[in-house]
Amino acid sequence: MISFDLQYFQPNTIEDAINIYEQFISENKKPIYASGGTEIISRARRNEVQPDAIIDLKNIPGFHKCEHKAGKLQIGSAVTLNHAATHSNFPLLKTVIQSIATQTARNKITIGGNLASSLPYREAVLPLLLTDSTIVLATPKGAITKNIHDVFPFNEHLKELELMMEVHLDSKLIKHPHFWIKKTKQSQINYPIVSVAAMHIDNEIRIATSGLTANPLRMKQLEKDILQAVEIEDCLDQIESYLPSPIIDDMIAQSDYRLFLFKQIIKDIAINWKGAS
């Protein structure tokens, strides 16, 4: 039960969505975009967010697309995780998604909501980081396309009013060999202690991780160093220097255990990689 009152909108165009948002801002009120709405509901129940308006993006045409077109996989931000898993044909994305929440919850949780989540995990972004996706943003000045590495994490890069419309990525990349591992506190359903996605693309290894630090990360330096390293242990020893922020230490796991698991996964990936190439 959400105890405060709010206004609920389901605009049919992006312009309307942005206009409603603007309108509330101008009245000094707090609007919020929603796509699945699950996180907003959970947080609003506990008054962790108290929006005056919910602007539900689900009804906007195009926000539901999940298709390969012009050599690109294009996924709308209101596409549910289950829909993306079954319709993207992207094996790694499917595997990653199916480790998030439960089958039923994934009928409601969306790609956009997962990427813009206030939680540190946002695991659906990992395959998108690995494939150097582009994000189409809606802004008051119209749609703009940006490299995912320039706009993610959204909380640091998106301006007020801006929202995610779509993600695009090169269709050719989706079938490349991949690696995925998620470690949880105990039940598989839990949030990750740490999860790592990797892909072999054109003699490179690409690695992205979630759960380790405040934001999911693409680890480009580590990727390079692994390629060059004679002994993988050398990379492992300095793994903390690859991280932009401290390792999370919380009730899911303490930081030393997180680090231990992460190192072990990276070692597996490296050995795997060396074996494969």
Binding site: I2, L6, Q7, Y8, Q10, I41, I54, Q103, T104
Partner: protein, 159 residues
């Protein structure tokens, strides 16, 4: 527009209903206030599945839905599941004790069988893992749904 209650139209168990709801209201509360108490609150946080209903044939946790969102949708709750096949299998296998998780499980299992009448073990478990049961130890629930798959209950009628 303001934040006053709104009227929504929604089809529940085959009947079109017009309901007044707070805009912040969650559909689980709306359903229960309307006397459809088969959907149970176990957590109201999207974690337990005991409030599972079908929205346009897809299992959704009613506690994770704004009532405003279901406008014009087709809803099925346990009260509307006239087909007794799944219920009978749960009876046959004793797949319940206190019964509190049961409506959510039955609707989820029903949807599973509609979408995947021949679900393999992995798919079945993936779906059924959405619900929490604290009483049974889960074996009987697996047995009940396995029974339905093995008997091909939904294959012949629906695909």
């Amino acid at each position: 527009m303001n934040h006053l209650p709104q009227t929504i139209q929604v089809q529940i168990n085959g009947q079109v209903k017009t309901l007044m709801v707070r805009q912040a209201e969650l559909f689980l509360d709306t359903l229960r206030n309307a006397g459809l108490t088969g959907a149970k609150p176990g957590c109201k946080n999207g974690d337990c599945g005991s409030c599972t209903i079908l929205v346009d044939h897809i299992p959704i946790q009613a506690c994770q839905l704004f009532s405003m969102e279901v406008m014009d949708k087709n809803i099925m709750t346990i009260e509307g599941l006239i087909d007794q096949t799944v219920q009978k299998a749960f009876e046959e296998k004793w797949a319940l004790q206190c019964g509190y998780c049961t409506p959510g499980y039955i609707l989820n299992a029903y949807a599973l069988l509609q979408h995947h009448p021949n679900a393999d073990e992995e798919t079945m478990k993936q779906w059924l893992d959405s619900n929490i049961c604290r009483c049974t130890g889960y074996q009987e629930i697996i047995d009940a749904v396995t029974l339905l798959i093995d008997r091909n209950e939904y294959h012949e009628h629906h695909s």
